[in-house]
């Protein structure tokens, strides 16, 4: 029987498949489609200290093998989340990661502090949301700010800290190194790529927010390259995200260097995506004669010359 368990830092996961932030809500709706106790983990929708309305609609534009979104971190706010959503999530029976996005460093720290007292399994510092004007991506494209923020968060919580990075930078490896120096337990890459879609007739962006974040299979080759690049730059675990649609995709990310992965847009196309992907991984391991899924991680052999 294939062993799908992996450890990200010290936390064991039943399998490497985690639902990505913003594509799974808080798990309430997805319960109708699959047994959430069987997936590796769920990453909450991105949370801000105060409730956020998010951006006006349209918030989605379809692109070739992908989509742009400009949700803009609509969420009930951190306090309401702790009271109304977290207890429900904890009961789901899988690992729970909480994705937080601050308007400024202090907001991140405030949320970290308050999460320290909960039973969440890890905190994902969203340093990469492209859909809000403040904080987030600004911090995420500056290594010094990343290191400082992660180090400060490290001081206020014992929870594992995952730094979720933006691909909209010249060197993702530099950002990952900064997160590592700051004391991050893992880096999560990638968040969405900045893009725009235009309505020719209206001569307007389709998204009311003008720009949005590109996700889906279109970005997979970029995400995979960034994981492979970062694997050579840091020694903390990498959680790979970007365009994963199948079990084979997951194993490609692991071969490139990921310890676990997050599945995002696939959930929106197929509500059973996470469960199906886990089943596919199991079948492929059988085929490949691999008994422990962790044996894939970082086994990419580069061609030389």
């Amino acid at each position: 029987m294939a062993d799908l368990t992996v450890c990200v830092g010290n936390i064991p996961f039943a399998n490497p498949v985690i639902a990505a932030s913003g594509t799974f809500g808080f798990g309430r709706e997805m319960r109708n489609f699959q047994n959430l106790g069987r997936i590796g983990g769920i990453c909450s929708k991105g949370l801000t200290l105060l409730p956020r309305d998010g951006n006006p609609a349209p918030r989605v534009a379809e692109t070739a093998s992908g989509m742009l979104n400009s949700v803009g971190l609509q969420n009930p706010g951190f306090t309401s989340f702790l009271a109304n959503e977290l207890p429900f999530m904890i009961d789901l029976g899988c690992r729970i990661i909480v994705n937080i996005a601050g308007n400024d460093p202090e907001e991140y720290l405030e949320m970290c502090r308050r999460l320290d007292a909960t039973s969440v399994d890890a905190i994902e510092l969203n340093l990469s949301c492209p859909n809000v004007k403040e904080g987030c991506m600004l911090i995420g494209s500056n290594p010094e700010m990343i290191e400082k923020l992660v180090a400060a968060a490290r001081q206020v919580t014992k929870k594992p800290l995952w730094a979720k990075l933006t691909p909209n930078v010249t060197s993702i490896a530099d950002m990952a190194r900064a997160a590592e120096s700051g004391g991050a337990d893992a880096v999560v890459l990638i968040n969405t790529l900045l893009g725009i879609a235009i309505d020719r007739k209206l001569r307007r962006p389709i998204l009311r927010n003008n720009i949005g974040g590109l996700s889906g299979p279109a970005i997979k080759p970029i995400a995979l390259r960034m994981v492979a690049e970062t694997y050579r730059a840091v020694s903390i675990p990498i959680v790979g995200v970007g365009g994963i649609m199948s079990g084979n995709d997951v194993l490609e990310f692991m071969i490139a260097g990921a310890t676990a992965v997050e599945v995002g847009t696939a959930n929106l196309i197929k509500p059973t995506a996470c469960q199906d992907i886990i089943d596919e991984i199991r079948a492929i391991m059988e085929l490949d004669g691999v008994s422990e899924v962790g044996q894939y991680t970082g086994t990419l052999e580069l061609w030389n010359g």
């Binding site: 594509t23 997805m30 349209p58 196309i269």
Partner: protein
């Protein structure tokens, strides 16, 4: 309610005109529980699914019908499918129309909005409610479901914007105005509307004028259709009257009471 993914064979394909088709799909589980105003989310040859309102559900036959107008690549693909082809459907999705306590139901449809409201009238007939339908088309040549609507309802009013030989020459909203002016009012009347946002806003205003309760079926660009991605934001007035908030068209909607909708036009 439990919605899941179904692979449904097309059991009938009726071409209404070059731009519009009615597909009949074998979907027993959906047919069993669907009610008017709900929708399904369908795969096509495009990346995202496409939301389409349920036009009819026949629990006995185990089938549902969808009326589809070609608007782009995805609906073109769907319209070109043939009998026997299989489509992946998620459904039934969303909150539909509320007919509780209604005695008379006036549906006001515009364009493809005429399709999902057909399901309303079918239920009205089954429940013995007084069904009145206003259907707005661009032109006579563009009209559809007229015989079916006539067979179902107590009264129909077909409006043609181009003014060619239909019941009413002009916009569906003007037709409704005309109708309401003549119609003796009865209590427990509901106006249910589906169509272009501008039309629905005018219908809502008119309903308000006449003091009739009104429900509208909003359309918003969607991805998941099941409430997890938050892209389908509709601006809805808060209960506490303190401004508005974004609610999910696919989950809290697509049907809302007209008075809570903050129109975007």
């Amino acid at each position: 309610m439990r919605t899941i993914e179904f692979n449904c064979p097309i059991i009938d394909h009726e071409s209404i005109n070059g731009q519009t088709v009615v597909l009949t799909l074998e979907a027993p589980a959906i047919a069993q529980i669907a009610y008017p105003g709900q929708f399904v989310n369908l795969t096509s040859n495009q990346f995202l699914r496409r939301p389409i309102g349920i036009m009819n559900a026949d629990p006995a036959r185990g089938s549902i019908q969808l009326g589809i107008r070609i608007a782009g690549e995805g609906t073109r693909f769907l319209a070109k499918r043939k009998k026997g082809d299989i489509l992946s459907l998620l459904g039934p999705l969303g909150r539909g129309f509320n007919l509780e306590g209604a005695r008379r139901v006036i549906t006001v449809g515009g364009g493809t909005g005429v399709f999902p409201l057909y399901f309303v009238q079918k239920v009205c007939q089954a429940r013995d409610l007084e069904g009145i339908a206003v259907c707005g088309y661009r032109s006579l040549g563009d009209s559809f479901l007229t015989d079916q609507y006539k067979a179902l309802t107590c009264q129909t009013l077909f409006a043609s914007e181009e003014g060619d030989d239909m019941d009413f020459s002009g916009h569906a909203v003007a037709a409704l105005d005309d109708l309401l002016a003549k119609l003796p009012l009865v209590p427990e009347t509901r106006i249910l509307t589906c169509g272009p946002e501008k039309m629905m806003a005018s219908v809502a205003a008119l309903a308000d004028e006449y003091g009739i309760s009104c429900q509208v079926s909003l359309e918003e660009r969607m991805a998941c259709g099941i409430g997890v991605c938050l892209v389908c934001a509709c601006k809805i007035k808060r209960g506490d009257e303190q401004g508005a908030e974004y609610q999910r068209c696919c989950t809290e909607g697509p049907v809302f009471n007209a008075e809570v909708v903050e129109w975007q036009i």
